[in-house]
Symmetry: C2
Subunit: 341 residues, 2 copies
DNA sequence: GGTCCTGTCCAAAGCGCTTTTGTAACAGCC
DNA sequence: GGCTGTTACAAAAGCGCTTTGGACAGGACC
């Protein structure tokens, strides 16, 4: 059933049927009701492609996953973020298009998306320091919003980020309030903007209390369970081991906990640990008192809000850029306690 | 730059330019080269929407994420699967569209995708027992391929699945060869087809050697770290505890390992464990000898192949259905050893 | 010379919508 | 009665492609 057939069936012109369904006021309410009923009865849906061609807007928003050589960079965050964004899109009448693109082809891919009229806007993920994509997209003229910030760029752009610096400052303060003085940092890769900011927050808090920053207590790597384990194990084996850890993700934290337990120590008593928790649905902590003390910020919610942000930019491309800084909650769980004396 | 402008620039008709670029033979090679060069020079890309409207094919394949009330069901598998499928799509000139849909609206969503001409085909994920979606999609007439199988349906359809039954039979046999007789099963939710099949494989292997099946050694739940921990802890606390575990995912396995270590036992010596490993990129095991003995099958590869499968169905909708059963490898790691006597 | 290919190219229709630009019909007003 | 406004509909253009159905020139063949 297409518009032509529906209009013939109703004895009306395509114009009238189209305008009736799209809420124009130059259609009488009686006619509109009749059209609506017929559309409903025959389950008529306007063809997306034709509508897109006629309006010049595809109502599709693109997400790009960069691929390095043969491996796509899949982030544990990805699934929940997508789910959040997808919820906003579907309630706003947008579709989400995901494209796996060679990292080296990323520039071309954005341009091609614009040229082909594939998407109305983009979400930019995992910004790196001095990320070149921002200038690029401004040049192309495709609305976008960034998940995170790109330190080093002085352009204006729309972004949403967690206040990673503040979160880690607070976590560090919290541990110091409990009497901890030697705090190990099990960070993500510091080429990633968020990890860089977390270290800043950590160092800032230590400096504020006049505690020396010890490079032996700082690690960075991709956030796997194994990395968490190795990092914590090594630091605990040092002459003057940390009494607490600051960890960048729950997956890492699982490894940190293992290292602590293997060392014959008890988490939350002998050694404390705070992790950042993105509230990933498949890692959720279902206890009454959470297992881990955490700086918590839902990545799904970030997805929802960022999706809204691109849509707003599409609706008003010349509008002012919007920045949203989400504060992470500090949730007390069973993984922290007073420093042993 | 659109087709009209390009053709005017070349002094050719739109027809000729279009046919030159699309490889038709009624264009001389000299002209084709000239057209190609101009297209290249001006970075011309045919507008996707116009082409889709003209050809009646969108070159988009849909993936649906069902949403239960306010929570999308996000599977840890999801990200890697998508990445795999995305790789195939981008090299085959397809795009991937992901739609978050209320579980109750799923039927409508498929129909709407067809009616709106949004996608050329679909991937169906996480089939349940007697899954109604198969009959539904056959009725709608949208090509699709299923990730997994739906026990209980006698229709023919195209699917790709891991041989879960065989994988768990082999793993059980392997443990029994090492002398284990009491083997705990830490399974996923058995409403999921794959979990159902894994239990079958486990029970079959036990029966084949005349070992009684003990309901006290079988658990099922959503596969979190916490669930793995609780399941293993509880079973180990039983009067006649298992000497080995069969675990449904690496995340669960992390919990199982923790329970074993907390009980003062050593994994791979006092207690053995085999897990299924989907080779998720963010849980990869980077040691020389893997930490876990595992039935291993890459979900990313599954994504790649399944994407190819839908594309084939789109190209030849009346062709015979294809089924692909991937055998999981049994990889020996450090988590298994002879049963203690 | 006429016929029949063959190799190249093109005009125009069509995909299914939206939107612009009318155009009747009717009412209100002097 | 003539003018202006308003309301409710429709004809037709246009979005940017692909595809159908020629058209035309040149060579081969009889």
């Amino acid at each position: 059933m297409n518009l032509k057939q529906l209009s013939e069936l109703l004895g009306l012109s395509q114009t009238t049927v189209s305008r009736a369904l799209n809420g124009y006021t130059d259609v009488s309410e009686a006619t509109r009701a009749r059209v609506r009923a017929a559309a409903e009865a025959h389950d008529y849906r306007p063809n997306t492609r034709a509508r897109a061609l006629a309006t010049g807007r595809s109502r599709v928003i693109g997400h790009v996953i960069p691929k390095i050589s043969s491996h796509a960079m899949v982030n544990p965050i990805f699934a929940d973020f997508i789910a959040g964004a997808g919820e906003t899109y579907s309630s706003a009448g947008y579709e989400m298009l995901i494209s796996v693109v060679d990292l080296a082809q990323e520039e071309k891919a954005y341009l091609s998306m614009k040229r082909r009229g594939l998407v109305d806007g983009l979400i930019v993920s995992a910004p790196r320091m001095n990320d070149p994509r921002i200038a690029l997209l401004d040049g192309i003229g495709l609305p976008y919003a960034v998940h995170g910030r790109a330190t080093g760029t002085d352009r204006q752009y729309s972004w949403l980020d967690v206040n990673n610096r503040r979160a880690f400052t607070r976590a560090t303060d919290f541990l110091m309030d409990l009497g901890h003085r030697r705090i190990g940092l099990v960070n993500g890769l510091e080429t990633m903007d968020f990890a860089h900011r977390r270290r800043q927050g950590y160092e800032e808090a230590l400096r504020a209390r006049g505690i020396a920053i010890d490079p032996n207590l700082m690690r960075q790597d991709e956030m796997t369970e194994g990395y968490g384990w190795r990092a914590a194990r090594d630091m605990l084996a040092q002459p003057d081991p940390p009494t607490a850890f600051l960890v960048s993700s729950v997956i890492c934290m699982l490894g940190v906990r293992r290292a602590i337990e293997e060392a014959g120590l008890v988490l939350g008593r002998d050694v404390s640990a705070v992790t950042h928790d993105d509230q990933l649905s498949y890692l959720r902590d279902d206890g009454a008192v959470p297992a881990f003390t955490a700086t918590r910020s839902s990545v799904r919610e970030a997805g929802q809000r960022l999706a809204r942000m691109v849509i707003d930019r599409i609706d008003n491309p010349e509008g002012p850029h919007v920045q949203e800084l989400l504060e992470a909650e500090l949730i007390i769980g069973r993984s922290t306690g007073p420093a042993p004396r």
